[in-house]
């Protein structure tokens, strides 16, 4: 009986209403794309929650750009399902385009327009009314620091400014999702920093998906990274979690002087599963350099120890044992930090074979 139902079975909220759990910004399921028989993307799946900043990482030709283009509805997928903000891209491409701002690879821009003119045109195309567009243009130009070049011709701008024009265009209509393909390619370190800050300033307001193969900036800005290689996702997660997954936590780097062949015995005394991971590398200007009297010999060598991930932090025990041991002299001990780069290399190599 269709009487007024009491609270327990709440009706599904209308799509426009703010529901308790908003649909994920992006859902990609088993995405496959082949170009004339050549597979570019083979079964990529990932999800991006609203408000996340996600980095899509991968070597050249891994299928990053193809995946992003399919997400924007520019290219059709061969198979698989892609939804953006709960809207299916394949069946409602026009609606999806209202929900995202896209900056393609290499950031193509018309050469013969002025910056403000171009942004005005783009804003109108994206459905902003003239009344809203005026203040929004000023805001975006300020946000992207384009004030000095607003009336310059785009073709005559430097790469950094062009890149910022592309980003300004992507965020212009305040879409809930922003997709940028290699936003920092070809920029100098200062400009990379500026772009990174700009992306960071969008945090909380928009979901951002950026692809890159310049790793440090991804690590700094992104909540999560998805690493793709040869058309497949090989790793996904927060940078710290990926480090944990690929290297475990028990890596220690120490600089030590003393009889190294006696070290394993000492280590076994600290923890039975602690072992030397890399062969000792003499410090520059030590050992072999001793004969050339110009540089005083450095008796210390750097070596890396490894323990299985389940072993607790051994730094304190290591220091204690090595300092107490009169045969060894310890100069430094750190817990090895793996860069995302190493994770990336490990992830793309491990599953490439």
């Amino acid at each position: 009986m269709p009487a007024v139902a009491p609270a327990p079975s709440a009706p599904p909220p209308p799509p426009s209403a703010v529901s308790a759990t908003p649909p994920p910004a992006i859902v990609v399921r088993d995405l496959v794309k082949t170009y004339a028989g050549h597979p570019a993307v083979r079964g990529v799946s990932f999800e991006v929650a609203q408000g996340e900043i996600i980095g899509l990482l991968g070597p050249n030709g891994a299928g990053k750009s193809t995946t992003l283009r399919i997400l924007t509805g520019y290219l059709p997928a061969t198979s698989g399902q892609v939804t953006v903000c709960g809207i299916d891209v394949a069946s409602h491409p026009a609606e999806v385009k209202n929900h995202l701002g896209f900056m393609p690879e290499n950031n193509p821009l018309p050469e013969d327009m002025r910056v403000r003119e171009y942004l005005h045109f783009r804003g109108r195309l994206k459905g902003l009314t003239r009344r809203r567009l005026g203040p929004r243009l000023d805001e975006v130009i300020h946000l992207c620091d384009l004030g000095r070049v607003r009336d310059r011709i785009i073709g005559k701008l430097s790469k950094g400014y062009r890149q910022r024009v592309g980003i300004a265009d992507a965020i212009l209509a305040e879409p809930p999702l922003i997709i940028m393909d290699e936003p920092t390619i070809g920029l100098d370190p200062h400009q990379i920093l500026a772009v990174r800050d700009l992306i960071a300033s969008l945090r909380g307001r928009m979901t951002v998906l950026i692809s890159s193969h310049i790793l440090p900036e991804i690590e700094m800005t992104c909540d999560r990274v998805v690493i793709v290689n040869q058309g497949r996702v090989v790793a996904a997660g927060a940078p710290a979690a990926l480090r944990q997954e690929f290297f475990g936590s028990g890596h220690y780097e120490l600089e030590l002087a003393g009889p190294l062949d006696e070290l394993p015995a000492v280590l076994a005394g600290i923890h039975p599963r602690l072992s030397i991971a890399s062969p000792a590398t003499p410090n520059p200007g030590s050992a072999s350099g001793a004969s050339s009297a110009s540089v005083p010999a450095d008796p210390f060598t750097t070596l890396r120890l490894v323990a299985p991930p389940e072993v607790p932090d051994l730094r304190e025990a290591l220091v204690k044992a090595l300092v107490d041991e009169p045969r060894f002299r310890l100069r430094s001990l750190t817990r090895a930090r793996h860069t995302l780069e190493e994770v990336f290399l490990a992830a793309t190599q491990a599953k490439a074979a």
Binding site: Y35, L75, P76, M103, P110, F121
Partner: protein, 253 residues
């Protein structure tokens, strides 16, 4: 519809601010002015059949062969080469809107260039002082023909531009297609094969496609709806093929 209006306004604006437009217009008017002056000289030297306007429009093919490819070759080929087609198509616009905006912008320029040649007739009438030298019938018919046939010619140029990312290839392709359309049909009409009895239907069809015959009819004041339909449907077909061309390039990229 709204994106189309914005795109068209943008295209027209870009045409108006581009120096290339003015250079092309100046050169076009120079060439047409020389032709017009030449025609007047022959009329002044000896009595001629018909009016200067009719003879002037007989030479419509010259600007068609050269101006149309030049006006249209850049439109889509350049967008694709620069990659701006991608930024354009990831906003809420459809391929059809983009192609149609390009078409109408190029067509407007084509019409504007031809309209400027109306100045020749004005000058002639104003300074020759003899009203009988100017016959309005052929003039109006001629311009009507230019407007109607321009639909097809410009859309063929847009089609050529949709098929390639290289402007030069688009230009040459447009030139060849237009040549086939204007001169090719004329040549086909003279083929002996078509004189065979059982090919009379084909011969009739080829006769309908004679662009020069259309021009004569228009300048004589005969506006045949079949001819208008030929140009309108032809341009619709070319534009649909152009839209499909752009989309096919995306599907099979």
């Amino acid at each position: 519809m709204r994106p189309f209006r914005i795109l068209l306004a943008h295209e027209l604006r870009m045409l108006l601010v581009s120096p290339a437009t003015y250079i092309a217009a100046t050169l076009f008017l120079l060439v047409m002015g020389f032709i017009f002056a030449g025609i007047l000289e022959t009329f002044a030297a000896a009595p001629q059949q018909g009016s200067p306007a009719a003879v002037f429009f007989q030479l419509f093919w010259l600007p068609v062969f050269f101006m149309v490819p030049l006006l249209t070759m850049k439109s889509l080929a350049e967008e694709r080469r620069l990659g701006t087609l991608e930024t354009l198509l990831t906003t809420p616009v459809t391929t059809a809107q983009v192609v149609l905006a390009k078409f109408f912008a190029a067509y407007s320029l084509y019409l504007a260039l031809w309209a400027a040649t109306g100045g020749f007739f004005y000058i002639l009438q104003r300074f020759a002082g003899a009203a009988q030298t100017l016959d309005y019938g052929p003039l109006i018919g001629g311009y009507l023909f230019i407007a109607v046939s321009g639909l097809l010619f410009v859309s063929v140029g847009i089609l050529a531009s949709a098929l390639t990312r290289n402007q030069a290839v688009a230009g040459i392709l447009a030139f060849v297609l237009l040549l086939m359309l204007v001169v090719g049909t004329r040549f086909a009409g003279t083929l002996e094969v078509l004189k065979l009895d059982h090919l009379t239907a084909l011969r009739a069809a080829v006769d309908y496609l004679q662009v020069f015959t259309h021009l004569e009819d228009f300048t004589r004041g005969v506006v045949d709806t079949r001819q208008v339909l030929y140009y309108v449907s032809g341009s619709v077909l070319a534009l649909i093929l152009g839209i499909l061309g752009v989309e096919a390039k995306l599907l099979h990229s």
